[in-house]
């Protein structure tokens, strides 16, 4: 149970139940669809990027497990109002934390509250769930419409 509580922390369960920034975004400048064909998790992320590179608005839609949905919700909450370059840094650090390349407690990082996903790092089969929204955000910011966790588009690889 202790193990489970570290994975399914209250904040994760809360974002799963009450996802923030959920829905369609009218007038989005960037959009991407991401899915994990093996489990069927599937999200659309729409971004309104200002001329100075600020993420002025962001929304997500789609469905999936609690881990992927809360990751999407917390991600949108976190990057809204921030620069795209900053979001890219978060994408990298989030991925590094999940694959064990970054210890958020010991090393400098920008993750902040996103550290609640550290419990996922101990469950290799669930890492893709947490990374999917982040991978999709990066694709949207880089003008790539469709991404997948399968094949060439491995979210765990540098892209």
């Amino acid at each position: 149970m202790a193990d489970l509580r570290s994975l399914y922390q209250e904040v994760i369960l809360d974002h799963n139940k009450n996802p923030r920034n959920f829905g369609e975004l009218e007038g989005a400048s960037h959009h991407a669809h991401g899915d994990n064909p093996l489990c069927g998790d599937s999200y659309d992320i729409s971004v309104l990027l200002g001329e100075d590179g600020t993420i002025e608005d962001i929304r997500f839609s789609g469905s999936g497990c609690a881990i992927s949905k809360s990751a999407a919700s917390m991600m949108t909450h976190r990057v809204k109002g921030k620069k795209a370059e900053y979001a890219e840094v978060l994408v990298d650090e989030f991925r590094q934390m999940l694959v064990g390349e970054l210890d958020p407690e010991a090393e400098d990082n920008e993750l902040g509250h996103l550290k609640v996903f550290l419990g996922v790092a101990g469950r290799p089969e669930r890492i893709k769930c947490a990374v999917l929204p982040w991978h999709t955000l990066r694709a949207a910011l880089r003008g790539k419409e469709v991404v997948s966790t399968e094949g060439d588009a491995d979210p765990l690889a540098e892209s």
Partner: protein, 418 residues
């Protein structure tokens, strides 16, 4: 020395189920602090010690290449390999062992038919029917064939309970219908289909039937002659055998008229640069060195299942299904998908408000192994309007404690999410 005479048959028909369970070493381990409750048998089943021992004995004392050596080991390997084919024949009551072709698995068996029969006999405007509850392996090969040939893929529908609407065949079958592909038992829902009746209808229309028997052979008596199946495919690893081996049964007359599948060693009679002629069945479809070890292991798995008795296994699994179904009925917010009257020991379910993958993870932390996802049957999920399900599937070596562990872990799911 022939393999089949080398060991006296063990009679397990009177052994208790706990004694039988004890013969599966993999089941006796902990997951964290919990004993393993392995309830993912529809994905892959476990191997008894006797089959594991057989693999070891073959590899340490009999292994060589088959059908070509002139030395002692090659003869031993060939004997073991051929003996396994005869065991397969007896197990599904094929008319002759030559009608039993070894493949890498059921998926390859179905692809073999789509390739070697389909590309020869299906043409533009022809039709192929697949049922609404097929595994991807019994849809996609036919879809590709239809795309290549300009043929049409049609679907035999099912009810909300997961029962095929067999009467719909009366309208679907016509003079262009070349083949009907149908699963004997649904991997996603557990439904046992009335295969004999379906085959009879198809045959009245001169339509051949390809049966996916993966979920049937481990759990019930299958008699391909009584069913009058034209093609019947199954896998070793779902019936207590190793991975990497499957069987395609086909009627001799059909197999003989088909094109070869893979080309290379063993499948030829003679080769020159001008022309090659092909070996008779089954060798025509067994190019290259087969998975000899896995075939021998499959033979041992069949021995094992038969030593318990397939009817006894079916009864045991039915009892486990009934026990689990009754326990599920007591749970609030849990819904079973697939409620056919005739069901194998599979429970596909959803817990209100919880994604199946989260269910799977939470159950795993209590030692309970289930499957979560679309079970390679996405059209079934689409038909029932769910993205995925959680699935518990039972084998004869499971017991009530396994099911109790599942029910108790489901309480944890609700505790965490509600």
């Amino acid at each position: 020395m022939t393999e089949s005479k080398s060991k006296p048959a063990v009679d397990r028909s009177k052994m208790s189920w706990e004694e039988i369970r004890a013969q599966f070493p993999v089941l006796h381990q902990n997951v964290g602090a919990h004993p393993l409750a392995y309830l993912d048998n529809a994905a892959s089943s476990q191997m008894p010690q006797s089959a594991i021992d057989r693999l070891m004995a073959y590899q340490t004392g009999e292994h060589s290449n088959v059908h070509r050596g002139v030395h002692m080991l090659s003869q031993r390997a060939t004997d073991a390999f051929d003996a396994a084919r005869e065991k397969v024949r007896r197990f599904i009551n094929a008319g002759e062992s030559d009608e039993c072709i070894f493949t890498r698995g059921a998926t390859e068996s179905i692809n073999l038919v789509a390739y070697a029969w389909g590309r020869k006999f299906v043409g533009e405007g022809d039709e192929i029917i697949v049922s609404a509850m097929e595994h991807h392996a019994n849809i996609v090969p036919w879809q590709i064939l239809c795309q290549e040939k300009g043929a049409r893929l049609r679907v035999l529908p099912m009810t909300d309970q997961g029962v095929l609407i067999v009467d719909a065949l009366d309208k679907l079958l016509n003079e262009r219908t070349k083949l009907l592909a149908v699963t004997h038992v649904s991997n996603a829902l557990g439904t046992i289909n009335p295969i004999a009746e379906i085959i009879e209808k198809a045959h009245k229309n001169n339509t051949l039937v390809m049966v996916d028997g993966c979920q049937a052979t481990p759990h019930m008596k299958v008699d391909v002659q009584a069913l009058d199946a034209d093609f019947y495919a199954f896998s070793g690893h779902k019936m207590c055998g190793p991975t990497g081996v499957g069987v395609l049964y086909g009627k001799r007359a059909l197999l003989e008229r088909m094109n070869p599948f893979l080309a290379g060693g063993d499948m030829i009679r003679s080769v020159s640069f001008e022309k090659s002629t092909y070996a008779p069945i089954p060798h025509k479809f067994e190019a290259g060195t087969p998975a000899i070890l896995a075939v021998v292991g499959l033979g041992a798995a069949i021995d094992y299942l038969e030593s318990i008795g397939i009817e006894r296994i079916a009864a045991r699994e039915h009892e486990l299904l009934e026990y689990a179904t009754a326990k599920f009925a007591e749970l609030d917010g849990v819904r079973i998908l697939g409620t056919a009257a005739h069901k194998a020991a599979v429970i596909s379910f959803e817990v209100e408000g919880v994604h199946p993958h989260d269910i799977g993870t939470i159950l795993d932390t209590e030692g309970v192994a289930i499957r979560a996802g679309h079970h390679c049957a996405q059209p079934v999920m689409t038909r029932l309007g769910v993205p995925a399900t959680a699935r518990a599937s039972f084998s004869f070596y499971n017991n009530r404690q396994d099911i109790d562990a599942l029910i108790s872990a489901l309480a944890t799911v609700k505790e965490i999410f509600h």
